[in-house]
Subunit: 169 residues, 4 copies
Amino acid sequence: MKTLISVCGSDGDDANLTSYALETAEIVGRLVAKRNGVLICGGRDGVMKAVCKGAKDENGMTIGILPNSKNEANEFIDIALSTGIGHKRNFLVISSGDAIIAIGGRWGTLNEISFAMIFEKPLILIRGTGGIVDEIINGNLLKNEYSPYHIVNSAEEAVEKAFELCENI
Amino acid sequence: MKTLISVCGSDGDDANLTSYALETAEIVGRLVAKRNGVLICGGRDGVMKAVCKGAKDENGMTIGILPNSKNEANEFIDIALSTGIGHKRNFLVISSGDAIIAIGGRWGTLNEISFAMIFEKPLILIRGTGGIVDEIINGNLLKNEYSPYHIVNSAEEAVEKAFELCENI
Amino acid sequence: MKTLISVCGSDGDDANLTSYALETAEIVGRLVAKRNGVLICGGRDGVMKAVCKGAKDENGMTIGILPNSKNEANEFIDIALSTGIGHKRNFLVISSGDAIIAIGGRWGTLNEISFAMIFEKPLILIRGTGGIVDEIINGNLLKNEYSPYHIVNSAEEAVEKAFELCENI
Amino acid sequence: MKTLISVCGSDGDDANLTSYALETAEIVGRLVAKRNGVLICGGRDGVMKAVCKGAKDENGMTIGILPNSKNEANEFIDIALSTGIGHKRNFLVISSGDAIIAIGGRWGTLNEISFAMIFEKPLILIRGTGGIVDEIINGNLLKNEYSPYHIVNSAEEAVEKAFELCENI
């Protein structure tokens, strides 16, 4: 069975999405593919598209779990899974991943992060990618609660940590 | 049709749940019932049980949207809706409410708060109730993002604001 | 806690929906209300509206679990629960009921009937109401499978059977 | 993007599951893989396992949408997507497929068939595979309703029809 790495983060219409976050996402995609991991995401734009582009650059496989239909998928998605339940599909991005990496993001990403903690999935936040990820890191959000998250400083560290945590499952 | 007020917050096993949060929840329940609102919550313990107790003290109606089965419901639930989907039922607590009030809480409450923002539902956070609610308030979490939340200082203000926002829908 | 009776059946645009089915639904609604049961349904037209009308004639309480938003609810719904997941909300009509009564119907009703059998809920089919209900009865559909259904000949028998089966849970 | 063919049918504990149904499933899997289609199913035993075995014999790709966790997956699943929502995951097997093929089956398969009709997905029933599929064919179940299904006589015809219908989408 394939190792599944889920990536969540800013959609394409996030005005605060930085080029650093997008570059980081692309490197994450490349590194996941190089290690033969399958990339799972929400299938749309912004961080999701960048991570898929990276994975395809290394001939990886990409799965998009879409809010409604296949034509919402970005051009780097191999397998477009339509759910028809809108944002309520977020939980599937998380429940399906062996580990989760979060980059930037807003309420939707926070929704996925909270699911990761509720499901006790390994969750890695990449520092410096902005948005909710940096707000959580800087504010130590719920840091002492029942589920812990992991903070890393780069795409390389994130993928390293993700695969390390998958092996421990 | 009835006005539906959803309340989310700490479960009974939250070690940081304060008596102030529980008292606030109980007053919220009473005031919602006095205004003929129907109370919706996750149906279990802690804040959920306190708010239902308050509502029943004033002969209000309480609906619990339960993770699995009816026997998870607290003793103040009139209508126990079993979902069988575990924590994935959180979205229903939010999608069903005309307005949402949050009290204390951890990752589960944050999950519901993020759904409220994604669905663009009126969301009221009661300051001083601890947990994620105060962390959001103190950290100004995602304050400038596409969906805004309302901060109030008491149960009375929360219910006042909730009904005011329902009327504007 | 209230006894919850779920009713499923033809929507308003079913060309084969008979006046007998509608009359039967209305009587079911009345009888459920008389016994202080709460009526749950999909909240829309046809059989759903008729059963709600009956319940309100006897001052019963009606809950509609709606595909999308509150404004889809028929005029006899007290509590309109919005799900935002379209037809995927069908499982909630079934998981929430202590017993299920089916009247007429097409693929949507068959979807709910199959959920009733999968969840091993008490399911009552009213003979003579047409649609998928009579097709199941006449064809003995999956009659020997792991979950059995109950066949009755009238609204009165259906409600009698439903409450009897609830007591045995 | 890959063409996605969903297959539903009897689980491994179906006492009426025939060797003909299993052989048919295995051939369906092989033919879907030969045409570079990705196979989607519920990920478990019986028809699901046979169809995955066939696909892997031809180096195809198999996706299992699992009720709960990855360890429920049969040995021929490449990508095991955990949902954590039990049988409520059925809709995803259908919403994700570009076309659906049904083989034998009971209430669970009927649940998936009804979703296929509700979502207006191309649905192909293979005659002679027993269970609910033959009951629907022999009883002309809901044959004149708003969504039609296609009846074929072999695995070869089923896959031919499935890809033909996908092209027309």
